[in-house]
Amino acid sequence: MEDKTKTLQREFLKVFEKLEVVLGWEPGYDSLHATPSFIRQAKDLNKLVWNPLCSQNLCTYLVKTLNASVRKDDKKIGICVKGCDSRSLVALIQEKFITRETFYIVGIPCEGTVDWRRLMRIEPSLKDVQKVDIQGNELEVETAQKTYRFPLQQVLEQRCLHCRYPNPIIYDCLIGEPITPHIGDDQAYGDIEKIEQYSLPDRLKFWEKELDRCIRCYACRNACPLCVCRDSCIAETRTPKWLSQRCDLKEKFFYHMIHAIHLAGRCTECGECERVCPMEIPVTLIKKKLNQIVKDLLDYEAGIDPQKQPPLLTFDPGEKGI
């Protein structure tokens, strides 16, 4: 893993002159976290890291923070993307928020990122971590004291367990070899099937239970690379007033429906909404269900083909089956 970090730094250094900023990851506030890094000076490039802790989808910052659609000079933005992240990038290109030419993309085939909450649940005493690495089917965590091994199934993020796109869809430079996805298209929706086994009233009860925990912190929305409304989000605007600030279940339920419906045919399943949820509500599932419907009905997956138009923003007069 060390060498990939090095390659990453080297690749950016090669082209750094042409870049305005590089988006990557750097070590976070403790040894089990990485954090997004915005590098504007070549000397800082050595801060960059790549390891299974680099969870964040950096595309989230493109529109909301960097306002990447407006470029002053011809300098590009350097960005690191995992497979899932690259789909968000493509989706943003599809929706014309950004243009491909604006970016220097370093793609990293990814075997999964670590859900530290699950890790800590298994091994609450984990500290002084020095190195985290994926070796085959196991996560290797080296601490000052000893080396732990965990089966990947137990410690990866949910999104990674169902990942079909471990390899970046677009990139200018690829670090490492492409990976074979360990899940087929047929298993991609295994997690939502679990809910569909419930009866209709049980499903409602399930969601009532889950969504009632929501504290309306909007972290899910803020972390979503495709939620680009910023201050204009209708969850908070007064005119039109779609939602009140009442903290009751109806409002929470409706808020999550707004988020999901706004992402129908657009969500790239990066799972950030769920990863950042402090209440651990499985909100990605809602979007995945919509994705499944859109795929079956309209044969479309977001963030795959930069030329394609999101299907709910277009139509086909000759369409059969609807």
Binding site: F97, C233, T237, P240
Partner: protein, 657 residues
């Protein structure tokens, strides 16, 4: 807001099954409602007076009338409240007749429903704002696209009415398909004799400016104020200088040029004039065949031209015209019959199209009106006409009837029998469609007076045998196969949308059907309008039709234009989309989905991009509103807040029972 509610009894239409008094009583409990009453006929003059009085007496700021469908009387009541000084959009109508009193006899349920409907209207009204229309001046010039009979008629009618007309024709001459016809059904009038004078009128009318050999490049703007880029294709001849003397065409050595006017039956010279009566009568060079333009030698035309009009360095040129309305009359092309392998797929020289037959029989055609076989120049004795080639054929994606073929093959068979009295004419048909004035009689004449053999059935195969073509068909009336040893076969080739029709439609933002014919606004009541305001249709571009219908449509489109131009300004409907710039995130999704191109980008001073609605173009469908993620674009008078208020009041309101 101070709201007044008026419940109409509509005689007994409503009162019989709705307790109107109870509804009015209930309405008084609603927020902002300061006055409520029921009345026998609210739409009557005394009824309207009562509303106006109430507005004055109670200082009302908004009015709800619960009565019939707003599709019936919304306009009436809006006028009534306007007279009393309110803005006409400070009015809502609850439909308690068609949607309530008339569909159930259960008075209690109906009354509950009426109460809900009034409540919803009140809630909606509470979010209403005064709206104002604006006035936009009209540029009273009209563009006619296409110089066939339909376009000519439209242009002449407009010009006669005093309008400035710009006509654009793709070919080097106007006249369209009609100019190629020999005679016309059912009168056997000479086509050139009735069309010619109209073509001359176009050329000579001071109000008409003709761009021949030109195409529409782009169209922007909207009703009243279109801007059109017209590309004048290079003719390599200075038309201001050219007199149409024709010397060049006599001397041009490149004599193998494709002769489009004669449907490829003949060849012409690289520098040519389509036909002697062409308007404008000017020469043009076909660069594909010109020796100088392809091989850089010759220049004979330049040497011989008495007025020095040849310009080998001419390039396409774009001109801009501004108009207030557009009449589209782009006509049609024939279905490509090469898809019919069983009829030779276009390889047999003596299997020709209907239009080729017209050139064959026309006195101005390549054979000076003698009907002869293209292959060997012999006079045909047995001529077969096959109907429905490229029409009524779902297998090639053309299920529609072309409407004119039955008539034109009857005419052509008559002409053939006229020209060659000892010839035999056979018409293979499926059904005969002759629903025009004197049409059926005409088809009967072909059979009764001219002895044309009509055989009910289709032809399965044509193959050459020696000098002849064996036509193998069926007589379905007898159930036996029929073989004709034919000398000439005429396919009644059907009508297809003009080449490039779809591209033009995209530029004009009008819709077209799956075959490329332009969509009228309403198939019965608005046959020459399109859904793009200010764009009208005439002729076959809208669907197959014959000459009289094309001419009628040309006149109708001209009339529609005149009506539009009878006012100096257009009043816009204020029930349209409006952007809240502060909330707009510049995602452009509204621009992508708008069916009318009525939203455009606007760059603010800080460089950010926002959506902006063109008030005169927006039709108020609200698709943008539904699409906009932050709901920054709102359809006035049907805003999210209004719909949400209606939903909320229904759901949250005390449910009965």
């Amino acid at each position: 807001m101070r709201i007044g509610v008026f419940i109409c009894k509509c005689g007994t239409n409503i009162a019989a099954t709705v307790d109107t008094e109870a509804v009015a009583r209930k309405a008084l409990e609603y927020p902002d409602v300061v006055y409520a009453t029921d009345y026998m006929y609210t739409c009557s003059e005394p009824g309207q007076d009562e509303i106006q009085q109430a507005i004055e007496e109670h200082d009302l700021q908004g009015v709800v009338v619960a009565a019939c469908s707003p599709r019936m009387h919304e306009v009436t009541f809006r006028r009534a409240v306007e007279k009393a000084g309110l803005n006409r959009y400070m009015f809502e109508q609850a439909n308690i007749r068609e949607h309530c009193s008339w569909i159930s006899k259960d008075t209690e349920a109906n009354t509950r429903k009426a109460i809900d409907l009034v409540r919803m209207s009140v809630e909606k009204l509470r979010f209403n704002h005064p709206l104002f229309s604006s006035q936009v001046p009209i540029n009273k010039r009209v563009l006619v696209i296409g110089g066939g009979i339909s376009g000519i008629q439209a242009a002449l009618d407009c010009a006669e009415g005093g309008l400035d007309v710009v006509m654009v024709e793709r070919e080097s001459t106007i006249g369209g398909k009609m100019a190629k016809l020999d005679k016309t059904f059912p009168t056997i009038d000479c086509s050139a004799c009735i069309l010619g004078p109209k073509m001359v009128d176009v050329a000579q009318h001071e109000n008409i400016h003709l761009y021949a050999y030109s195409e529409i490049e782009s169209v922007s703007g909207y009703m009243g104020n279109f801007k059109v880029d017209i590309r004048k294709k290079a003719t390599y001849v200075d038309w201001d200088a050219c007199t149409g003397c024709g010397l060049c065409t006599e001397k041009c050595p490149a004599k193998k040029s494709f002769d489009g006017f004669n449907e490829g039956l003949d060849t012409t010279t690289a520098i040519n004039i389509s036909f002697p009566q062409a308007i404008p009568k000017r020469a043009k060079i076909d660069p594909k065949y010109c020796w100088y333009l392809t091989k850089e030698k010759c220049k004979i035309c330049q040497k011989i031209c008495p007025v020095d009009a040849i310009r080998f360095d001419m390039k396409d040129e774009t001109v801009v015209e501004e108009v207030g309305a557009i009449i589209v009359a782009t006509g049609f092309d024939l279905v490509d019959h090469s898809v019919y392998g069983e009829y030779g797929g276009g390889h047999y020289p003596d299997v020709i199209t209907g239009l080729q037959f017209e050139r064959l029989v026309s006195a101005s055609g390549p054979y000076e009106g003698h009907i002869i076989r293209p292959s060997d120049g012999k006079e045909p004795k047995n001529i077969v006409f096959i109907a429905c080639v490229g029409s009524r054929d779902p297998s090639i994606g053309r299920p529609y009837c072309s409407g004119i073929c039955c008539m034109y093959i009857a005419k052509q068979a008559i002409l053939a029998r006229d020209h060659i009295p000892d010839s035999n004419c056979y018409v293979f048909y499926i059904d005969i469609r002759a629903p025009g004035k004197n049409y059926e009689e005409f088809v009967r004449r072909a059979q009764e007076d001219y002895g044309v053999q009509y055989i009910r059935g289709r032809v399965g195969k044509i193959y050459p045998q020696g000098e002849h073509l064996i036509v193998q068909g069926i007589d379905t009336l007898l159930g036996i196969q029929v073989e004709v040893e034919a000398d000439l076969v005429v396919l009644a080739t059907g009508v297809a949308a003009s080449v490039g029709a779809k591209e033009l439609a995209e530029k004009l933002r009008i819709s077209y059907d799956e075959y490329g014919f332009y969509m009228e606004s309403h198939p019965k009541l608005r046959p020459v309008e399109t859904n793009t305001a200010g764009v009208f249709l005439a002729g076959v571009c809208q669907g197959p039709k014959d000459i009289p219908a094309s001419v009628a449509q040309g006149s109708a489109a001209a009339a529609k234009t005149q009506i539009l131009f009878s006012r100096d300004t257009i009043e816009t409907d204020p029930q349209i989309a409006k952007v809240n710039e502060r909330m707009c995130i510049g995602c452009g999704k509204c621009i992508d989905v708008c069916p009318f191109g009525s939203i455009q980008w606007k760059t603010l001073r800080d460089g950010s991009q926002k959506a902006e609605v063109l008030d005169t173009v927006c039709q108020g469908c609200g698709l943008c509103n539904a699409t906009c993620p932050p709901k920054a674009i709102q359809l006035q008078h049907c805003t999210d807040d209004q719909i949400l208020a209606e939903i909320e009041v229904l759901c949250a309101g005390e449910r009965h029972g």
